[in-house]
Symmetry: C2
Subunit: 478 residues, 2 copies
């Protein structure tokens, strides 16, 4: 069963319309398993780094959310005023985290949260824009020595993508807001234009330099200033970018650039210790939209194959940075933070596509227990055998009929992709034996006809067959 | 850090009040781990039986919920009307399940859902009544031969409590609505009083027979009728209850009782096949409040020690039954269902209490990497060692300072309950060695001073120490 999206069945006679709210979806079956696999992989990585999971209420007091999202505040879902407190559904996981820190007077924490957030936006289901969707945030809050938590976040990103089997395909672009701002100063961008020019630069991954230059000129820069920015921001690489910046006297003399350079020098030492420098690309065009980043910024990108053409495009599947001024907003003390948000919906879509490409079949049940040629259906016997399998941790099912027909049982097992059939016959049982059969074998395969085994060796023999013929195991499900 | 409950910090100057909404709570740290352990144990059992997890949107169209909860409809949380669809937060998991089946025209499914539900009730946090809380529902929907899914639910309950370490303490009371209704008929209870007398009988686990009898008489029964009911409903046991009922001619002749008896005879055969008859108590006083049960009903109970006295009381931690008429409510076809709802909040509280009783310490980090006596703090070296541990799946942390002091590092490790310290010293590193130390050992213990190991054997040696001295492992966290 695959997850239905806002499927509706209208009823002309004024009966209840059976649908789920616009912009929401349901998760069930293999999609739910794959989704949980993504969540579990990420959680495992976070836990390995000593992080604690956090679960906050789905709604917050309205005043907690008020004034935090600017223009986008209109997208907040309010609860109806039914007396008592005025509440609204959470819009992201950052504001609840900030509220949590201030409320409990927590000065430092490594926390993660994987949870649904709500935005009353115009949904575009095909493009993945939903009104209810998952966010996965990992953040390190607290005063620490420079770049230590920052480099750990990058390490966590690499571990996460490795865990998801995407390690080969993902590059993490990094940059530093201070370097970028300093470069704009050096080039002569007026202070009040820096954020707007920054957002033009951020488009260099999707637009040509000529187009970006045009946008900058429209925004009020001269062609010379734009060209100088271009000479910096088209540079990317590794540690050599540090040398590139230091080799330019005017750049190297800028105080803001210097601050950023000091951070990045440290960072590269730490990336070496973590053996991940090769996964990271220092990209001076990376600017990130959000205003609240103050120091390092990063974005993990992956090449996506288009479904309709042979073109590939670059997709962002995780992003973040250091934001030292945001999380103290409720408390008296500023709490510096660095964090990353994984685009779990996009990661899910990529993995789903790959699984389909590779024709991977997930099995949710290991063994199907059947009766053959018995007048009484051997129900109690099938139950007892299933019980033995369950006790051994083997996922097992049987037909929920007293006297099922054999073809029906085979059909049920095969359509569910169950690899092993345990077949009970009266004569065999009388001799203390059972037949095990691997399903889906080609004709002529030596195991095609199955094998008789001692009933006492049931579990051991089923495990052996699963080992040999079980195919790709079900994703660890939880 | 333990989870705060509606903690508030009022601010006289009219600043934002930092609290979470009334009747909600947050989960973090060891409590969150224990909660996830409960969820994962239950999910594992459901998956072993071939069930599929389902995740539905947190809000439904208001009309889907309308008219489903009678009096309690006033407890539904509505979303504000901000234009577009009118929605409300889900009140339980049953109505969304019914809507899911009808919307997707699903005729049979084994599904489970563990999710938050919302009730605008007067919260009583101390007694565990919350406005946002978890439900865990497992249901088998579909037309099957009698008592096959029903007995599997009972088996699942036993497996779940075993998995949670409560197998020895839990008894599952069972009864059958048809038997109960038939007994009332035989005793002469008028048809329109059956539900109300049924609810009086259900109190026999908390009240004496005299009190229940008094209530029945107040509800309009004669003392004789009440006494006859008493003679039936005070009976409990195993298969012998079937014999008890059959031995009474008037009871055995009642058509409604007969239907129930046939079911229960079948059930006992199946319980034997599943080897769980000893965990089940056939209790003729079990009635269950909800009107919608049509056949078998059950309730898992556990003896709870009172915190304040030596008294014990009986708590219900899971309950359910067959409800054949409820889930078809949106569709054209009736879909018979049998299911169970686990009281996950109460289970969590019991396990938490036990863990405290047993002074079990959970560890969330396996190893703490420290520097000793080195002028430069050996930061990059600590990072490289942590990286090796992470690569081996070992949960590791280190002090996020460039030059931490040794006592601070020990304090951080010990207060977090980390069992193993990996200590780096310049001289030892020069010889390719590291010191491993088990934390929290008593004076005089042969391992107290730690051991020097080859740096190349780091992972292997740490694993060995964790094996020997790691204490109780962290609960599997996800």
């Amino acid at each position: 069963m695959s997850a239905p999206e806002t499927k509706s069945k209208e009823n002309a006679k004024g009966k209840t319309v059976l649908k789920i709210p616009k912009g929401t979806r349901e998760w069930v079956g293999p999609e739910m398993m794959l989704r949980d696999h993504v969540f579990n992989t990420l959680s495992d990585v976070f836990n390995r780094h000593g992080a604690t999971p956090l679960d906050t209420p789905v709604f917050e007091l309205k005043e907690i959310l008020a004034g935090k999202y600017g223009e986008d505040s209109k997208l907040i879902y309010d609860l109806a005023d039914q007396g008592g407190e005025i509440c609204a559904l959470r819009y992201d996981l950052t504001v609840p985290f900030a509220r949590f820190l201030a409320m409990n007077n927590i000065k430092n924490i490594k926390r993660y949260q994987i949870a649904k957030v709500y935005r009353r936006d115009q949904p575009a289901v095909a493009r993945g824009r939903m009104r209810e969707f998952y966010q996965c945030d990992f953040d390190i809050a607290g005063e620490y020595d420079a770049m230590i938590p920052d480099s750990e976040i990058l390490r966590i990103m690499v571990e996460a993508f490795r865990g998801l089997g995407l390690g080969q395909d993902v590059t993490i672009k990094i940059n530093h807001r201070k370097i970028l701002d300093g470069l704009f100063q050096v080039a002569g961008v007026p202070e009040d234009k820096i954020r707007s020019i920054s957002s033009a630069v951020d488009k260099l991954d999707k637009m040509s330099w000529e187009e970006v230059k045009k946008e900058m000129i429209e925004k009020g820069l001269t062609a010379e200033v734009a060209d100088e920015i271009g000479s910096y921001t088209q540079k990317s690489g590794g540690r050599d970018v540090l040398e590139f910046l230091k080799s330019n006297e005017r750049v190297a003399a800028n105080e803001t650039v210097k601050e950023g350079l000091a951070d990045m020098e440290l960072l590269y030492n730490y990336l070496d210790a973590y053996q991940i420098a090769d996964k990271v690309s220092f990209d001076l065009s990376l600017a990130r939209g959000l205003d609240y980043y103050t120091h390092i910024i990063y974005e993990a990108v992956i090449e996506l194959k288009s479904e309709k053409s042979t073109e590939t495009r670059i997709g962002s599947i995780a992003a973040g940075g250091r934001y030292d001024n945001l999380v103290g907003m409720y408390g008296k003390t500023k709490i510096p933070c660095v964090g990353v948000s994984f685009g779990v919906d996009r990661i899910f879509t990529i993995l789903k596509q790959r699984k389909e490409d590779e024709k991977l079949k997930q099995r949710s049940v290991d063994a199907f227990v059947m009766a053959f040629g018995a007048k009484n259906g051997l129900l109690v016997e099938r139950m007892a055998v299933a019980r033995e399998l369950w006790d051994a941790g083997i996922k097992a099912e049987f037909s929920p009929k007293a006297k099922p027909k054999l073809p029906q049982q085979f059909k049920a097992a095969e359509s569910a992709g169950v690899p092993v059939a345990v077949i009970l016959g009266e004569d065999e049982l009388a001799e203390g034996k059972l037949k095990l059969k691997v399903l889906g074998l080609p004709d002529g395969h030596p195991e095609k006809e199955g094998r008789l085994v001692e009933k006492t060796k049931l579990v051991e023999e089923v495990k052996k067959l699963l080992e040999e013929h079980g195919g790709p195991k079900a994703l660890p499900l939880r």
